[in-house]
Homo-oligomer: 608 residues x 2
């Protein structure tokens, strides 16, 4: 039944060679991989205005030059990641680029940051999207956490079904959001040009502002750059693209950068021109939409698509997290369970773990995003800085044709990213200090795991020097609980393996019973030696293991192997198991994990 629920939710299993069919064409890739970046325009401009508002509304004109700075940063990032795509056509991303050029630990800092960051992507985006919905429908406000969890489950299932199918369903909302914002910007500019909007709603550019400081301006810049979270997604996901993958990925990246720049500039400009102040109860985008269209269908269309894209932005995490996990697992820094492809060819374990982790974050933070956004942004800018620094090293080391302009691009990107990272630490330390706790822990764990895999590999590797000594013979121990057909079938099996070296062991709880059992046994199985052990504490395991230890000690002297044959009857229905003492299972686990004996279970399948 569990199996059929799984089939209903996930669809039929796919053969391995069907993998190719699920590669992404550019149009779908743009939708899947850029929802995170594009949805950032819903909060990025607002973050800038919130900082400037601490000085006063007169300072709002600074948003225009600072936005230009953010666009420069965006351009630098896009160009830099375009170079990374061609340099690392198998899916680079910050982890691979940093590791190859700056060393393992730099790679692990980038990888660790991103691994946690993708979980934050899911938690933050879904929570923000839920907030947007429940703001529109206040009745639902008490169910924020439940709604957010439902969305996470929904996206998780979509991703387990496979990436192309999720793309089909995800492409529409992303394009609708872009369309909605383009209509908004177009209509608003038309209104401005036709003079419908009065030109005196905003302070003039260049006006003197009391109390403005470099610190405030830098902080505004850092806040605005939170609109750039997600631009790295494409470079991580190159193997998902249809061939030629790098070219398609590069084109998709440029397209995304162009859309992001357009929407970001549009929103910043309109917010400035309309003289909009950030407001706890209504988002900047909502205010612009209401000014432009009033409280009608177009307003709800814009709010609706905004909410939808925020929720679907979480999907970027689902594309990126499993692929990063695969890269880390290939290098043995995390468990190899992340390498296994599921029924539908997605990396199911990564998808499931991401879903669970983000649900935990949502529950802990009650689906409230405001405290998570700075952590989320810094978790993106650390890998930005590292991967671009890595590219600098690469160009200097390899010096390919025309490397100086390439170096310049990456150097600018690295410099700005580093500055943004530092500004976050300086201006928002109370929100981001935990990075200094979890990053060292994560990197320590990565190294411990790697060490374990290397140790195991060394130990299991076949070497010419160590050869196994053939086993001389087998001693079979059969723990028996009574005289039944189950025991009979186990003894029958034991006899077929080693007819002369079978010891049946009976654990007695009282002395009378012990004698009676020995007498009956003598009649039933005269050719099988019976040892009865008296258990003072009603434990089966203790006397049994002591006995096995003794036998094994003797056996190992002459290179004999001890096999414990466990009679086990298997009830026909699962619930019948609670009606029987499952001592067999307990004995088996105990012996297997503690002792060096082979444990063979002889099943006796009940017919009724």
């Amino acid at each position: 039944m569990i199996s059929s629920i799984k089939r209903f939710l996930l669809g039929r299993p796919l053969k391995s060679h069907e993998l190719g069919e699920h590669k992404l064409i550019k149009r779908k890739a743009l939708a899947i991989l850029s929802s995170d970046a594009l949805s950032s325009v819903a909060y990025g401009p607002e973050q800038m205005l919130i900082v400037l508002a601490t000085v006063g509304t007169a300072a709002f004109w600074y948003s225009i030059p600072i936005a230009a700075g953010v666009l420069v940063l965006l351009t630098a990032l896009i160009l830099s990641y375009r170079q990374i795509i061609f340099a690392y056509p198998n899916g680079g991303g910050a982890y691979v680029v940093s590791k190859n050029n700056l060393g393992v630990n730099a790679g692990l800092i980038a990888g660790g940051s991103l691994l946690v960051d993708y979980i934050l992507t899911v938690a933050v985006s879904v929570s923000a999207g839920t907030d947007a919905i429940t703001s529109a429908f206040p009745l639902l406000h008490n169910y924020n956490v439940e709604i957010a969890i439902t969305f996470v489950l929904f996206i998780t299932i979509l991703n387990l079904r496979g990436i192309t199918e999720s793309a089909s369903i995800l492409a529409y909302p992303v394009y609708l959001f872009v369309l909605a914002l383009l209509i908004l910007i177009g209509a608003a500019i038309y209104n401005i040009l036709t003079g419908v909007v009065p030109p005196d709603l905003h302070p003039p550019i260049g006006a003197d502002v009391a109390g403005i400081s470099l610190f405030i301006l830098l902080r505004t810049f850092a806040s605005g750059s939170s609109a750039l979270t997600g631009v790295e997604a494409i470079s991580n996901a190159i193997p998902n693209f249809k061939d030629p993958a790098p070219n398609n990925a590069a084109k998709t990246l440029i397209m995304m950068g162009f859309l992001l720049a357009l929407l970001f500039s549009g929103i910043v400009y309109l917010a400035y021109y309309y003289g909009i102040s950030p407001n706890v109860k209504e988002t900047v985008v909502s205010q612009i939409a209401k000014e432009t269209f009033g409280h009608n269908f177009m307003y709800f269309f814009i709010q609706g698509t905004t909410a939808l894209i925020l929720i679907l932005a979480a999907n970027t995490g689902y594309s990126a997290f499993p692929l990063l996990a695969v890269n880390l697992a290939k290098d043995k820094f995390i468990s190899r369970i992340f390498l296994v492809r599921g029924d539908r060819l997605g990396y199911s374990n990564g998808i499931i773990i991401l879903g669970i982790a983000s649900i935990i974050l949502i529950v802990i933070f009650h689906a409230k995003t405001e405290h998570l956004i700075p952590l989320y942004a810094i978790g993106v800018f650390i890998p930005f800085t590292l991967s671009q620094s890595g590219m600098i090293v690469k160009w200097i080391r390899e010096k390919p044709q025309g490397w100086i302009p390439k170096l310049t691009v990456n150097a600018i990107g690295a410099f700005i990213s580093f500055i943004v990272t530092m500004i976050f630490f300086l201006t928002k330390f109370t929100r981001v200090w935990s990075v200094f706790v979890f990053l060292p822990i994560i990197i320590f764990v990565f190294h411990r795991i790697r060490k374990h895999y290397e140790d195991v590999g060394d130990e299991l590797r076949l070497t010419a020097s160590k050869t196994v000594i053939p086993i001389e013979g087998n001693i079979i121990i059969v723990p028996v609980a009574g005289m039944t057909r189950v025991v009979e079938s186990s003894l029958n099996y034991a006899k077929s393996l080693s007819p002369n070296r079978i010891i049946a062991v009976y654990i007695a709880f009282d002395k009378e019973n012990e004698k009676e059992f020995e007498e009956k046994w003598e009649k039933w199985q005269p050719d099988v030696r019976l040892v009865t052990l008296y258990s003072y504490y009603r434990s089966i395991i203790n006397p049994l293991t002591k006995f096995i230890d003794t036998i094994q000690h003797k056996a190992s002297e002459s290179n004999y192997q001890v096999t414990v044959v466990i009679p086990q009857f298997i009830p026909k229905r699962g619930w019948h198991n609670i009606l029987h003492n499952q001592s067999g299972i307990m004995i088996r686990s105990f012996l297997l994990f503690r002792k060096n004996v082979v444990v063979a279970t002889v099943p006796y399948h009940l017919k009724k």
Copy 2:
């Protein structure tokens, strides 16, 4: 570590022959087994007044004659149970008495009612005790559920430690409660006799009351009889008494009956004389105590011991539930896991399951007792009626010396209990209808379990007609995931069992890898046949089981046994397990439960 926590909480394990030391002397038995019954006086009189209050305060004088009726019922029950103790010295209780005299289904109705009722005992008593505490300390009121659960856990641990030790700790509160109430009654009567209490606080006995009806009086009687819940506990627990067990149990029962009658009459009389009305915010006992002593130390002493005995009344459930479960399990109506004695010689499984079930009830009902008390009372009176009817049948059937007075005692008891049961159904149907749902279900399940055990017994019994055919030889299948020392040790083992009939099976996920593996294998293990299977869906189980089916089909024709030898490496530390695909464990469980092959696991213990 888990083991040392267990030792700290439960104490060292006890040897089986230490059982005798834990038998109860009368003084301790009275404390352990009567806390449920005695604590009932804290709510029984109040329940009567609540019903009479629906007519008016003038009707309160009826509590005196009705209480006399309850005392008659109490006397009948005590005398009847005294007869049961001697007739069933091995611990009778309603289940055994009903089953032996009225048939299996009557026994199961009694047993099923009591099994559920003991869970209710724990949930109701602990919740009521918690209410008493949180009423005294209103700050704790929001934590009712948590406090109640803590108490259940505490009592569960005490019971897992063993029954005598729990008796030592439980004896004091019970005797303190009795002492507290005796002081209260004594002081109040002294006040009445010395004329400190005005004699006109109450309506005269025999006064006319408008609106009184037989229905109301019967309902009052039924409510008052809820003070008798728990009187059956002693007759169920005879084997726990020191020898001569029946005599000691009978004396304890009489003592308990005497105390209960005294406290019950005292509270009813004082409530009447003081003219006390039931009040949602303050219990009747609390009102009497405040009238008598004022708001001083003695008041808190009475309230405190009342709260304590209510919580400890839950302990009656812990004494009775496991013993009843043992009786049912011996008759194969419930799982035999209830027959196992734990480290400290208590029936741990019964104790643990009772604890869990009552915690679930507490959580579901938010530790609120008012809706549960009628259900609890009817769950007691059904077995009362059945066991006394059973005794009637027994006397008629056996006709021992002087059977007619004995029959009369039980007949009166049976009749009154039956009437009380009927009154509950008639007057409180909305609270007790669920009995008609869960009793049939429980009895159906009992029979299903019995049927299963009988079927299994038949199937496993050795019969002369069916003898096993010796196995001709063994075919060993070794699923291999690579060429490592783990696989090497498994092959070495397989060779020792059946050198010429080993098949290594390799599941390949891509064609290239398949060929490469075959070539390497040929060099490494030229004498072991390798079969490679290509898996389209990346599943290991499916192709492997298909292959095993084919081999087994051939093997069974010539009476060969198939053994699947699974190489398994055991990491040194538990957490390492998450770093490895545990395919071995999956394969093993699947084969064992679905296929008729022996599964032998060859452990390879990692050193690092």
